[in-house]
């Protein structure tokens, strides 16, 4: 941790604190909007709740240009490998917020078609319950994420991201080996993980 001291009148700050301050106050979201939570997100971006005061005005619909993946809405089992690919293509530092109950646990859709929570396929940092959550609720979720970011350390490696990329490699291996589509492979990985007691495939 480098100490930066300019002169006697400036408090020495640790590099981590400065970098984390910069990161948490410039979270550029990628709104992965699939359902009703995306509409609430739109109202959160609008002037009354104004998400841009958190530095998040720049919505980037490309994983290369964003650092916060906001999953807004139901993710189906057919959409699961797509979500994994988007998360894989994001550059670090990256965080994921599961907005709404559909993204957190599958919500009211306890069916064959709906992924029972995105944390089965991608690592999630914050869950925001609600159907849909009020904009204040989503803002509270992002503020919790900001608190998490404050506690991060530059030198610590993020285990969950490494595990995710390993699971992606496993997924590709299975695809080659069994000749199935990516949808069926991810579905089988999810079912296998469910059978073994754990639910996540990463």
């Amino acid at each position: 941790m480098a100490g930066i001291s300019l002169d006697d009148s400036v408090m020495p700050t640790r590099l981590d604190a400065v970098v984390n301050w910069a990161r948490r106050n410039s979270l550029w979201p990628l709104p992965f909007g699939t359902a009703c939570c995306a509409i609430e997100f739109m109202s959160m971006m609008a002037s009354r709740y104004d998400f841009s005061r958190f530095g998040a005005e720049a919505l980037r619909f490309s994983p290369r240009q964003s650092d916060l993946l906001l999953v807004l809405g139901t993710v189906t089992n057919k959409q699961a490998p797509v979500l994994r690919q988007i998360y894989a293509q994001m550059a670090e530092p990256k965080w994921v917020v599961a907005v709404g109950v559909c993204a957190s646990t599958g919500g009211m859709y306890r069916t064959y078609a709906t992924l029972q929570g995105i944390d089965r396929v991608v690592p999630v940092d914050v869950y925001v319950p609600g159907c849909p959550p009020r904009p204040e609720g989503m803002i509270f979720g992002v503020m919790e994420l900001q608190k998490q970011i404050t506690r991060e350390s530059l030198s610590a490696r993020k285990e969950h991201i490494e595990q995710f990329y390993q699971s992606l490699a496993r997924q590709e291996e299975l695809q080659q080996a069994r000749g199935l589509s990516q949808y069926q492979v991810v579905r089988e990985m999810v079912l296998e993980a469910g059978a073994q007691g754990g639910q996540r495939i990463w």
Partner: protein
Amino acid sequence: MVIERIEAQLPGAILERHAFRGDETVTVAGASFLAVVDFLFGEGFQMLLDVTAVDLETPEFRFEVVYHLLNLASQARLRIKVPVADGAAQPSLTGRFKSADWAEREVFDLFGIPFDGHPNLTRLLMWEDFPGHPLRKDYPLDGGDPFCSNDIGASYSPEARSLNA
């Protein structure tokens, strides 16, 4: 009434008819189905609104494929039901109605009823190599997900589902 005209033109085609609060429904035998549809097209029922199916699991026939037709001129609507046995195919209406294309693909995807003469009979909603047909009554609601079944116990078991329990 157009149903009487069908009776007159094609005797024996209609197996059953009923009406409920202004909705007219006819059950048509599979053999005369295309003749009935062509006759209705001539009568002005030139818009196919939907094709769907019901899994009844009755001993005589398993499915009922349901067609909704609309007469744009008179605004009359008609529901046609065709009993289909398990494994039997239905003739495709894609030659007559463009809207039959994806509607029949959806029925094939979710029920497994094949349509003869369809230009592209592949799954529409589920992915290509999805095993099974989800809207059949013997398909588990949670898709056989062990996480779901373990979590909430017996609610989706066949015993809980059956009406006799």
